[in-house]
Amino acid sequence: MRIVVFTRSTPDTAAKVEVDASGKVTWGDAATVVNPWDEYALEEGILQAKNAGGKAAVIAVGPAMHDEALKHSLAMGLDEAYRVWDASLENADGLAYATAAAAAVQKLGDAELVIFGRESVDVGSDQHIYQTARKLGWTMLAYVSKIIAVDYAAKTIKVEKMLEQGRQVITSKLPAVISVMKDINAPRYPSFIGIRKASKAVIPEWSLADLGVSLPANGAKIAAYRNLPPRDTKFEMIDGTPQEQAAKLVDKLLEEKVL
């Protein structure tokens, strides 16, 4: 039995990201890191696989740059890594991603739980998560802040979800796809031995033909990336005693009509 985690490599959070003259998104020579939300998913994958006495597998859908995130995952302690790539997935949207991701889970055959981090910061989206669940025909439990109980024999799962208005406890059926929030766990750092082992790992690459799936005809297409319009750089320092600062600030905010 497997627990499957999805991850990807994203530019370092402190990197300056911009669109160059040819319209490509670049982040200079900044490193890529594991998508920040995925660290929690990877940790949960390790914990859940251990509890279940199963294996933790990690999958990335994307070109070779995502091997870095996969190797980081192996170094953390996940058992096996796979990458799905196909020329037709270039600029894929969430629906195409989900179609490939679901097929990869099905190819592994024995997964009961699929874990994603809350969103991917590069594409700035989470739609692929929910769409992977629907393509699999599995239960979707999003924004999970705690797995309260999971019973692989009875195929039940009980989780706490974090919504805008508060926390919801929900019970459901396995197999399931979950997306996890930051407070679910404290991700471990890769060990030295883990890093050495992972650096030698050969990661299998699956094409869409290997997965026996083709992409839907409809989808979102990115026409162009653009840099942000320049921020209004007007800045005003408000000085004085705390009372004077407060009074001047309130004047300004009333003028700005934001109160």
Binding site: V121, G124, E164, Q168, A217, A223, P242, V250, V258
Partner: protein
């Protein structure tokens, strides 16, 4: 042209006010697409909420007031939405990108193999196709996206990116439909719900007051015999005794930096930034927050940013419209008093 569907999000029998932003976005497409705006209202009190949607600009409504839809659960909601999309092939399905809408529209787009344009900051219909701009790479760049192929296009909108119309009550025709799933076909059961009382939702808030590491510089001291970390006590006390009163007088939501959350000063639900919430209020007051790039990712779209920090060199001042250098424990109470006086509260 077939209808533009707008999903009206509800909670405990009331519409989420952000839903009216989605109705306005649908309305803005209606003329160029020559299509009516149909409000979709599922769950408790749907008939009354449908009329409310009419006041905000919907032409008609489809409702399903069924016990299986009282609490939002993805399975019955997505099954019903997907069924409606298959039956009627609307030209678009629009909602504000709340937690629930993100799941619902993505799921239904997958069920029907339809395009989804997510987190739109703007929306236009050019030559029949829909086009949006959206943030990418943690809000550091924008992307323009359109829908490939044909069929229904699903669109989620960044909250507060579209402006709701003024309500103008009118009566609209309503069609009532049966749910797509019965309770015994739904595997997810809600066991309990713990509401975070007295807090304003960060995503919808027009004003946010956020605290950071500087909250630990509280001059108040823990009671005698307190054995925990004094900095944590000081910061927690500051959030409830100093920052919350300011938020209350402003009707603001309380946010926090990752540093404050990681140090245990305030629960994670308040975190603004890359691994927290992305917000775009009219006014964002950052108190004792240095302004790490991860924090900026979550709040850079705020209209007016006020930075209050004892370190005049803090990066947050580079984003701010107004800067106040000083002790937040002196400035915030003064600001709260001044606002009470000026706003007549």
């Amino acid at each position: 042209m077939s209808a533009i569907y707008v999903w009206i999000e509800t909670f405990k029998g009331k519409a989420a006010p952000t839903s009216w932003e989605a109705v306005a976005a649908g309305r803005s497409l209606a003329a160029s697409m020559n299509a009516p705006v149909t409000a979709l209202v599922f769950g408790e009190n749907a008939a009354a909420i449908a009329q409310e949607a009419g006041a905000y600009g919907a032409d008609q409504a489809i409702i399903c007031d069924d016990a299986t839809l009282t609490d939002f659960r993805l399975e019955p909601y997505a099954a019903l939405l997907s069924q409606l999309v298959r039956q009627h092939a609307p030209s678009a399905v629009i909602a504000v990108a709340s937690s629930r809408a993100r799941e619902l529209l993505a799921a239904s787009a997958a069920d029907t193999d339809s395009a989804l344009l997510g987190d739109a900051l703007n929306l236009s219909a050019d030559g029949g196709g829909l086009m949006i701009s959206r943030p990418a790479f943690a809000g550091k760049v924008l992307s323009d996206a359109s829908a490939n192929g044909g069929g229904t296009v699903f669109v989620t909108l960044r909250s507060r990116a579209f402006k709701a119309a003024e309500a103008a009550p009118k009566s609209i025709p309503v069609e009532s439909v049966a749910p797509a799933l019965t309770e015994d076909q739904i595997v997810s059961k809600v066991e309990s719900f713990e509401e975070e009382s007295g807090t304003v939702n960060l995503g919808d808030a027009a004003v946010i007051v956020s605290g950071g590491r500087g909250m630990a510089n509280n001059p108040a001291n823990p009671p005698a015999g307190y054995s925990g970390d004094a900095a944590v006590w000081k910061a927690q006390d500051g959030f409830t005794q100093v920052l919350q009163p300011l938020a209350d007088v402003l009707g603001a939501a309380v946010g926090a930096s990752r540093a404050a959350v990681d140090a245990g000063y305030i629960p994670y639900a308040h975190q603004v930034g890359q691994t927290g919430r992305t917000v775009a209020p009219d006014l964002y007051i950052a108190c004792g927050i240095s302004g790490a790039i991860q924090h900026q990712a979550g709040m850079r779209s705020s209209k007016i940013i006020v930075a209050i920090n004892k370190d005049g060199e803090a990066p947050i001042f580079k984003m701010a419209r107004y800067g106040l250098v000083g002790d937040l424990y002196q400035i915030l109470p003064a600001l709260t008093d001044e606002l009470k006086k000026r706003l007549g509260k």
